[in-house]
Point group: C2
Chain length 258, copies 2
């Protein structure tokens, strides 16, 4: 991997095994970094992107649906829209607030402050023969990212920012893209307001969600099949610092779609 100006590379790490609750993700990712040809030494313009699923699994943020008794509202919604009432129940239990619950779509605000479909509760890829398991979002995704960053810094001596990513939909556009749900070592948005653009004009409202773009670039490398849950993005030059994903959430007073 190179990394000069104007070039960004995303590389999927090989050899992350099936993750189970209690696994030391920092160690597993460090092993995969060592195993991936041409990656070492890590560089300060690298970003490690870790997808939510393995973070939730390692942290035990998993629910066995056979233990869930859905409330009548969940049963009715699930029957009408051909969904699993137990998953709806889990989403409602986790929700700080229901934003929309119609047309088969359940959008909630999570305890972490994300507004997303199904509150980030996810059924696919939880593990072999695990048809009844769903993952919840990590309780504190910034802390999840920080723990991985510290493990990598201790092992390799390089301070590399870490993003925990997840796949979110967006109003008005079809399909999901990967965004950041936790960060450590970078500022997730870059406020370019007041910075002159190429013509010397002062840009009034350019706030760039860099961490989300890095998460999307990582997803392109991780591909469609799964089984490769961690990528390194090199050369994106995010703003380094002790940021939080909370800085990437729209302040409530600007939310025109409550």
């Amino acid at each position: 991997m190179s990394g000069e100006e104007g070039r960004v590379e995303a590389l999927a790490l090989d050899g992350i095994p099936e993750v189970v609750p209690g696994d030391d993700l920092g160690r597993l990712i460090g092993d995969a970094v060592e195993r991936t040809a041409g990656l070492l030494p890590l560089r300060p313009d690298d970003v490690i992107v870790v997808t939510q699923k393995i973070v939730s699994k390692a942290e035990g943020a998993v629910v066995d649906l056979t233990t869930v008794e859905p409330r009548p509202e969940a049963v009715a919604f699930a029957e009408r829209w051909d969904r699993d009432p137990r998953q709806i129940e889990v989403v409602l239990r986790e929700a700080r607030r229901v934003v929309r619950m119609e047309h088969g779509v359940l959008i909630t605000e999570t305890p972490q402050g994300f507004i997303c479909a199904n509150g980030g509760v996810d059924a696919s890829n939880v593990g072999p023969e695990s048809g009844n398991l769903v993952t919840l979002l990590p309780a504190d995704p910034d802390a999840s990212a920080r723990a991985i960053r510290e493990a990598i810094r201790t092992r390799f001596g390089t301070d590399v920012p870490v993003i925990v990513s997840d796949s979110f939909g967006r109003p008005w556009r079809w399909g999901i893209t990967d965004v950041a749900i936790g960060v450590s070592g970078l500022i997730p948005i870059e406020d370019l307001r007041g910075t002159p653009d190429a013509d010397g004009r002062v840009m009034k409202s350019t706030i760039r969600a860099s961490a989300d773009e890095i998460a999307s670039a990582a997803e392109l490398a991780l591909g469609k099949i799964g089984g490769r849950p961690v990528a390194i993005v090199r050369g994106a030059q995010p703003l380094l610092g002790e940021g939080s994903i909370r800085d990437g959430l729209m302040p409530r007073e600007f939310d025109l779609f409550p």
Copy 2:
């Protein structure tokens, strides 16, 4: 640039001059491709990403604000929120529908079907000493992409998909990311519903907005300063075909945020 599985690279092209109305973008981009070290030969897994501003400028989709007489509604909104009433007027003229007009934010549905802030009307980076010029969205961004694709295919003999990108905000998240507003030679979303995931479980609702992720990866390479409006993304392996960005828009019946 390499391009094996699990690796995606985005490279900003050098040497696109200031674009003016009537410029032949396909030729300018072809020149830049030839000028960029290590890029040729183009590969079938390349995607050319062209940012909206130069497409609009080449096509003459530019309005001189000194010719615009704002309606009273535009004047009142602009005064209240410290904005340019003439730009508000242009957005309202272009709009098929006003989605939100409050808190200084004007979100409209454009004739192309996009729902976005200011209807895609953009004031920054239009050119030196051009404080009164704004760009509109290209009238038919798929056609803009197709013309560039055809010019590249004719010149280099390789059929490379083209994305026209723009920077859009999203509800609930702070900051903008680049998304696709026009495509040629690829399908902007990949419907993975019914495809088994890594555990062999059938995924129910994974529709991936690949073109948007490619646009975001390109933006990371194009960086913050401007002046580099075109990137090549290699290795993303989008679904090839004669797609339209209309396939990437959420059908009206699923729009929970009208």
